[in-house]
């Protein structure tokens, strides 16, 4: 169970960091953001792929931290990027399961 605790802790810390970072970047009142943030999307894809597919506790924890960072952004930000990251990671996970 120790590995699950590390994952969830990494995700929570990543979410809090993402929230703090996001509020520093965007201080304005709530806006439903429509544009796609490519940098955050890359971070999200990289993070979730590491989390689901690395097979290593430390790498997965780093993945959850990065995934949580994007997912934890303030409301209105990071939703599409998280969705893209999760789709990529789940797709890769299924692909690896099928091929191995």
């Amino acid at each position: 169970m120790l590995d699950y605790m590390i994952y969830i802790l990494a995700f929570a810390v990543g979410s809090i960091l993402g929230l703090v970072y996001s509020y520093k970047q965007h201080g304005e009142p709530f806006v439903a953001v429509t544009e796609f943030n490519m940098v955050m999307a890359v971070v999200s894809i990289f993070g979730w792929c590491l989390a689901f597919c690395s097979g290593n506790v430390i790498l997965s924890a780093i993945g959850f931290l990065l995934g949580g960072f994007v997912m934890g952004e303030r409301p209105g930000y990071g939703r599409k990027e998280t969705a893209v990251g999760l789709i990529f990671a789940i797709g890769l996970f299924v692909l690896l399961k099928l091929t191995v």
Partner: protein
């Protein structure tokens, strides 16, 4: 692994997972009501924040009781984690944990000296109506599996399939308990907004932090027990998906349903419980349940 280390790890997981799930619950409710809602991590941040806030103790409180009850609240849900996820022990102990939780809810309100807390304390007695369907659900699980031990119930399900297919109405009774315990539930009469925060109204600072800590663990434990005794042996991913799905469902229900008045709440719970109880008995006697 060392038992103490296992308990500590499971309690941390329960707190973090429970907090994130409660955050998700608020998010789902907000989206249903077309609001942006707080970030998912908000409940966790709130809980942590309270531990560093100034703790004020009102003059009207019964001091020892007022402080002690918060630690008892945290302790009983830690016992819930030990009995459930750690030891896979008896369901009866978990029923006891829930019964004591109701008493703690009651006494937390009465010790505060606040009229809001006291009214919430009276309502906590009424809301104990949920314990009847819970007890009935546990009895049916015992009748089918022949055991109260969670580990043995898991073994039974791995051989005969999940109990939710055998006694779906008993699962529905347990699910009603989960709806009752979920935030902003139609049955949450002890935390009605006319009572401010109900039995929690007069608890500030780290005392409130402990209450939030207990709430998060309670949510995790109840979802864990429901999934374990009705959905058979599950792995970590199964639990994660199950907990997220249940949190989504309760979020939808609570966002779309107004809070019931105390008498309507109790009558609705008892009516649903009675229908499910007699329905399950009928299923057993007509041979639908093997």
């Amino acid at each position: 692994m060392n038992l103490m280390a296992d308990i500590l790890i499971q309690v941390i997981i329960a707190f973090l997972a429970g907090s994130l799930l409660l955050g998700l619950h608020r998010k789902v409710m907000a989206r249903v009501q077309k609001r942006p809602g707080p970030p998912i991590v908000q409940h966790l941040i709130h809980s942590l924040k309270f531990f560093f806030k100034e703790t004020a103790i009102p003059k009207t409180v019964s001091k020892v009781f007022y402080i002690g009850i918060v630690f008892i609240l945290a302790l009983i849900w830690i016992v819930g984690v030990i009995v459930g996820p750690v030891a896979h022990d008896s369901l009866l102990i978990l029923f006891g944990v829930y019964a004591v939780y109701k008493i703690v809810e009651h006494n937390s309100g009465s010790s505060s000296g606040s009229p809001y807390g006291k009214l919430s304390c009276v309502r906590a007695v009424l809301s104990a109506a949920t314990e009847l369907p819970l007890f009935a659900a546990i009895v049916f699980v015992y009748l089918i599996t022949g055991t109260m031990n969670i580990g043995e119930i898991i073994t039974y399900q791995s051989a005969h399939g999940p109990l939710v297919f055998t006694i779906p109405l008993a699962a529905l009774m347990f699910f009603m308990l989960i709806i009752t315990k979920s935030p902003y539930s139609p049955f949450a009469i002890t935390k009605d907004k006319v009572l401010i925060s109900g039995f929690e109204t007069e608890h500030f600072g780290f005392l409130r932090g402990f209450m939030n800590f207990s709430e998060a663990i309670a949510w995790y434990v109840m979802l864990w027990v429901f999934l374990t005794i009705f959905f058979g042996p599950l792995n970590a991913v199964g639990y994660l998906i199950g907990m997220i799905v249940i949190t989504f469902i309760t979020g939808f229900i609570n966002a779309a349903t107004p809070l019931l008045s105390p008498n309507h709440s109790v009558m609705t719970q008892i009516t649903i419980g009675a229908i499910c109880f007699f329905g399950t008995i009928l299923m057993i006697f007509t041979g639908v349940v093997a």
